[in-house]
């Protein structure tokens, strides 16, 4: 389980110094600071695309439920877990 917990109304945004590239239906990105790079599967990539502008977890789930057939509770659990992972890996950050 992840160390950070993010509230549903917390704004989150992408870290600035990331370089990303679309590879087929997946996204790979490089963290310039650590030199690490990450690959995202198609679903993760679809979520990532919705994070272009700062957004709250709540809004993010709303958008994803339009696109994917998923129950609200399920969506909230999965997405918050995923977002928390990204925050831990410093791909996303919480913003004011």
């Amino acid at each position: 389980m992840s160390e950070v917990a993010i509230a549903m109304d917390q704004m989150i945004c992408r870290r600035k110094d990331l370089v990303a590239s679309q590879m087929d239906d997946e996204i790979v990105m490089l963290d310039m600071e650590s030199g690490q790079y990450f690959g995202m599967n198609p679903i993760a990539s679809a979520i990532w695309e919705k994070l272009e502008q700062p957004i709250t977890l709540f809004e993010l789930c709303e958008k994803l439920m339009v696109e994917f057939e998923v129950e609200p509770e399920q969506c909230k659990n999965d997405v918050s877990q995923f977002v928390e992972q990204l925050v831990e890996n410093k791909l996303l950050e919480v913003c004011e």
């Binding site: 370089v19 590239s21 590879m23 087929d24 997946e26 790979v28 490089l30 030199g35 690959g39 599967n41």
Partner: protein, 295 residues
């Protein structure tokens, strides 16, 4: 003291040292200068040291080198060094660093011209049979662009081009013995069981578009799997020639973008085959892929 002129990776090289594996050319204005120099101040430890534009390293009892700005290689060979081995460091490590400094994408791969326009690249762990495969293609009449290091440049249309390196390939003694007369061959280092085979007659002098990259693996039969998406990127990233050089030179971002570009224009395959036979089947698979895949 003699001065030698060579061509490798489309660069004219002026050298204080003889480099027998490189292609000899007439004296002319050089892109890269290899210079004899005392480098005692760099002999402190055995690490690679790098800053953007400069990288130096010391190999105890053999050679010390200071590679600068993509155009200068300062070399200090130890008096007691095995000279062929020192030469191998010059044409291997040092030239690899020069290519990286010049902004090329450098992969640990060999390249075979598969038609008038394109090349296939082969990568694989040590012992997976890269050079043996290159030799099999040569025996079948194909031309080779490079045996060990593939330098790739991109044009403004996003095409990836692999540059001709130099006309020799390295082979293990058993393969070399089977296909060549060992008396005429130079060992890589004095005690090595690996030999340089001259490939002048089957050297491709022109750059070629990268059509496909094959990861060679050993298996019972010939079979292939095409790679896509993040997995393709990850796999290609692992084929970079000495990734720590990219990091030391601070070129990670450029390298990341180049890998992404290359993965878009080249087909990527893992290919399994028995190590020492079925070369004809492998060649057939490679030729078929070059005909169907229009990206």
């Amino acid at each position: 003291m003699s001065i030698y002129f060579y061509k490798a990776f489309n660069l004219i090289i002026q050298s204080d040292f003889e480099c027998p594996t490189l292609e000899v050319v007439e004296a002319q204005k050089a892109d890269v200068v290899i210079q004899k120099e005392r480098l005692n101040h760099l002999k402190n430890d055995h690490q690679f040291h790098g800053v953007p534009g400069r990288l130096y390293f010391h190999v105890p009892t053999i050679v010390t080198m200071d590679v600068r700005d993509g155009n200068t290689i300062l070399v200090d060979v130890e008096d007691t060094a095995d000279f062929p081995l020192a030469q191998a460091y010059i044409t291997g490590s040092a030239l690899g660093i020069i290519l990286q400094q010049r902004g090329l994408l450098v992969l640990h791969a060999n390249a075979i011209a598969i038609n008038d326009e394109e090349a296939a690249l082969f990568v694989g762990a040590s012992g997976a049979g890269k050079s043996t495969t290159a030799n099999a293609f040569m025996q079948a009449g194909f031309e080779v662009l490079t045996d060990d290091v593939s330098a790739i440049e991109f044009d403004k249309h996003g095409n990836a081009w692999v540059l001709p390196a130099y006309p020799s390939i390295k082979l293990w003694q058993d393969v070399a013995q089977r296909d060549y007369d060992l008396c005429g061959l130079r060992p890589i280092a004095s005690r090595e069981k690996k030999f340089y085979v001259k490939a002048d007659a089957q050297f491709c002098h022109d750059k070629r578009k990268v059509q496909a990259i094959y990861g060679l693996e050993v298996g019972d039969e010939v079979s292939q799997e095409e790679l896509h998406g993040a997995a393709a990127f990850d796999w290609l990233h692992q084929q970079i020639y000495r990734l720590y050089l990219v990091q030391l030179l601070g070129q990670q971002e450029q390298c990341f973008r180049q890998i992404a570009k290359l993965a878009k224009v080249a087909e990527l395959y893992k290919i399994e085959r028995p190590l020492n036979h079925c070369h004809d089947k492998l060649i057939k698979v490679v030729m078929n892929n070059s005909k169907v895949g229009v990206k």
